[in-house]
């Protein structure tokens, strides 16, 4: 059984069937990509996984436990972290403060009242935050106002914050959308390194085939709210149904 098991999930928006009979199993410690044309339901599926949307029917099990009916912060505390399509960070705060928040969330849970001691005296938090920044090459931006960073740096900070929580499943929604090729390649290398350094399962929604085929071990193709096929990258590339439904000859060649 996979770390994440999605069974018979349906989700309607009014008359529109955004997800219909979705079944998906993501194996522990794998990199699993979910691809599909625009409007296929990829983001909707992701929102179901993190508790932002509740499906009409079906079940979602993470490590054997149902996530349905739990709030996003509870699901996060179970071990699922999410990277957004446009980076969501604490723009008003410094880079270091962003990191420290993630470290506090990991150490102290969803709520603890520590209103008197100075946060800079929490040595373990400060050290961990600094170490995470270091490993993401953000150490020199420590005191910077995070909103004024480049998009690539914001993305790396967001990923670093998710990793500081030591999640078992990392979900990424089009992490390279809107990036130049060089940045895209950097992100691929970064994700490869992340995978190498620790036990983590990565589920990635992606449009860019280059990214998908560089990273994924398994690929699920979603079309009109239903999984079309699930297979290894090699088989997906050659799959006639996929070519016809989604990829198009030229893109596969690239």
């Amino acid at each position: 059984m996979g770390i994440l098991e999605v069974k018979n999930v349906n989700k309607r928006f009014g008359g529109l069937k955004a997800l219909s009979e979705v079944n998906l199993s993501i194996a522990e410690n794998s990199v699993h990509a979910i691809i599909g044309p625009n409007g296929a339901g990829k983001s909707t599926l992701l929102n179901v996984l993190v508790g932002k949307l509740i499906p009409d029917t079906g079940s979602v099990l993470f490590d054997g436990q149902s996530v349905l009916g739990r709030t996003p912060y509870e699901i996060n505390q179970m071990g699922i972290s999410r990277v957004f399509q446009t980076p969501e960070i604490f723009g008003d705060l410094s880079v270091m403060e962003n990191m420290m928040i993630a470290c506090f969330a990991k150490r102290d849970g969803a709520f603890t009242m520590q209103a008197i001691g100075s946060m800079m005296k929490e040595r373990d938090i400060v050290e961990k935050a600094e170490q995470m920044l270091d490993s993401m090459n953000l150490a020199d931006k420590r005191g910077m106002h995070s909103a004024s960073m480049s998009r690539g740096d914001k993305r790396r900070l967001e990923i670093a914050m998710c990793l500081a929580q030591e999640p078992r499943l990392l979900l990424l929604d089009e992490p390279t959308a809107g990036m130049a090729r060089a940045d895209t390649n950097n992100t691929i290398d970064l994700l490869k390194k992340i995978k190498q350094d620790r036990d983590i399962t990565i589920a990635i929604i992606e449009h860019d085939m280059h990214v998908v085929f560089s990273l994924a071990e398994r690929i699920t193709v979603l079309a009109q709210g239903t999984p079309l096929v699930e297979d290894t990258p090699e088989n997906i590339k050659g799959h006639p149904k996929v070519r016809e439904a989604y990829l198009g000859e030229t893109q596969v060649a690239a």
């Binding site: 008003d92 928040i101 008197i116 800079m120």
Partner: protein
């Protein structure tokens, strides 16, 4: 010092020095000179400076850090005042139980109002708090008159129980025998300085309140409050529950307001519902923004500025204006006085509104930002605003 880093210690010491020497600093002009009009070293006014300073410091913990704009905080101030006067009526005139109860009652009250209002955010939260405060104000005049004494206001009568009152005991508020209205008057040449007991009690509590607020700003809890203001989506997807954090900030600021209300009643043992009116809630919003929301010292500056200007402008009557503008030819003088009089005396709120607009448009960061700009003009680079700095602690 006291667990603060060097910069915060400096700010605390400056505020302490200002508070301790306020009776001198605020009476710069000789007592009988023309300019004595601008003096502010009277017990009554100085007490208001620090009491409203406490109110604004607390409000800033909610509004400045989390960005939740409450339009009903005067309700907690009013509740605090009523609680204090009830202690005077039931026990005796000692201010200690009065102040303690005002904090506790305002805290309980804010748990309820906060718990309900925080189901919404943004403008809907503001409207809910406004509605609650307005309800409290109306109830104080109607259903709750047995508790509030309606329009007369709650006060102490000779037939009140006052169970701890001894024969010949103090008949005005006191701190274990030290009467709040007691004062030391010192004349130095033509200058006169007044050192009132009540003021110093309020000032000490203001300093304690300020110290606690600095600790909160620098704590993990304070960091979470700023995270709420910055990005609640990221916060929930980082496994944090914003609700209890916001409620805690709401209750803390409610307790600050209760303390301020208790002190108002301790300086003058009377509590009226007008303290809960929406204009009073709006005033603390203006104080905080004028000084600089989210900065440490801003609310104190804002409270001081507004209470000072209120005093000066509301004192200006037509007689005084005639004296000041006597040098103008008659045909200029009358229209000038006509215009100026609209902004002074009873009309001072017009002045306040104008000032507030000017600050919001020209200096959105308030007086603190203004100060920083001036420092930069003189070539000194002030460290990043208190708002976002993370200096290492010592």
């Amino acid at each position: 010092m006291l667990g603060l880093n060097r910069k915060d210690t400096a700010i605390l010491l400056v505020v302490a020095a200002l508070a301790i020497f306020a009776p001198i600093i605020l009476n710069l002009f000789p007592a009988r000179s023309e300019l004595a009009f601008f003096n502010a070293g009277y017990p009554d006014l100085m007490q208001r400076f620090v009491i409203f300073g406490i109110f604004a410091i607390g409000f800033n913990i909610l509004f400045g850090l989390t960005g939740y704009l409450s339009f009903g905080h005067a309700a907690f101030l009013g509740v605090g005042s009523y609680a204090a006067v009830w202690m005077f009526k039931l026990l005796n005139y000692n201010v200690v139980p009065a102040i303690l109860l005002s904090i506790v009652v305002a805290g309980l009250f804010s748990v309820v109002i906060g718990w309900i209002s925080l189901r919404r955010s943004g403008i809907y939260f503001s409207i809910l708090t406004l509605a609650f405060a307005e309800m409290s104000y109306r109830l104080a005049y109607s259903v709750l008159t047995p508790l509030t004494n309606g329009e007369t206001g709650l006060q102490v009568y000779t037939d009140d129980p006052q169970v701890l009152m001894q024969a010949g005991g103090h008949i005005v508020p006191h701190l274990f025998g030290l009467e709040m209205r007691a004062r030391e008057v010192i004349d130095v040449g033509p200058w006169q300085f007044v050192f009132p007991v009540g003021y110093y009690l309020c000032a000490i509590l203001m300093l304690v309140s300020f110290y606690i607020s600095i600790r909160i700003f620098r704590s993990p809890f304070g960091l979470m409050l700023r995270a709420i203001k910055s990005n609640q989506t990221r916060m929930t997807y980082t496994g944090l529950n914003p609700k209890p954090y916001t409620l805690a900030a709401f209750v803390i600021s409610g307790m600050y307001a209760g303390l301020a209300g208790g002190l108002l009643a301790s300086m003058d043992p009377l509590a009226g519902a007008e303290r809960m009116q929406w204009t009073a809630s709006g005033e603390v919003v203006i104080m905080t923004i004028l000084g600089g929301a989210g900065t440490l010292i801003g609310p104190i500056l804002g409270a001081g500025t507004i209470k000072y200007l209120e005093n000066v402008f509301s004192k200006m009557n037509e007689g005084l204006l005639h004296k000041w503008f006597a040098f103008l030819p008659d045909w200029v003088e009358s229209p000038v006085i006509w215009v100026v009089s609209k902004f002074t005396g009873e009309g001072w709120h017009l002045m306040l509104g104008g000032l507030f607009m000017l600050v919001i448009i020209a200096l959105p960061g308030g007086l603190v930002e203004g100060g920083q700009r001036i420092m930069r003009l003189f070539g000194r680079k002030p460290k990043a605003e208190t708002r976002t700095s993370t200096e290492p602690a010592e």
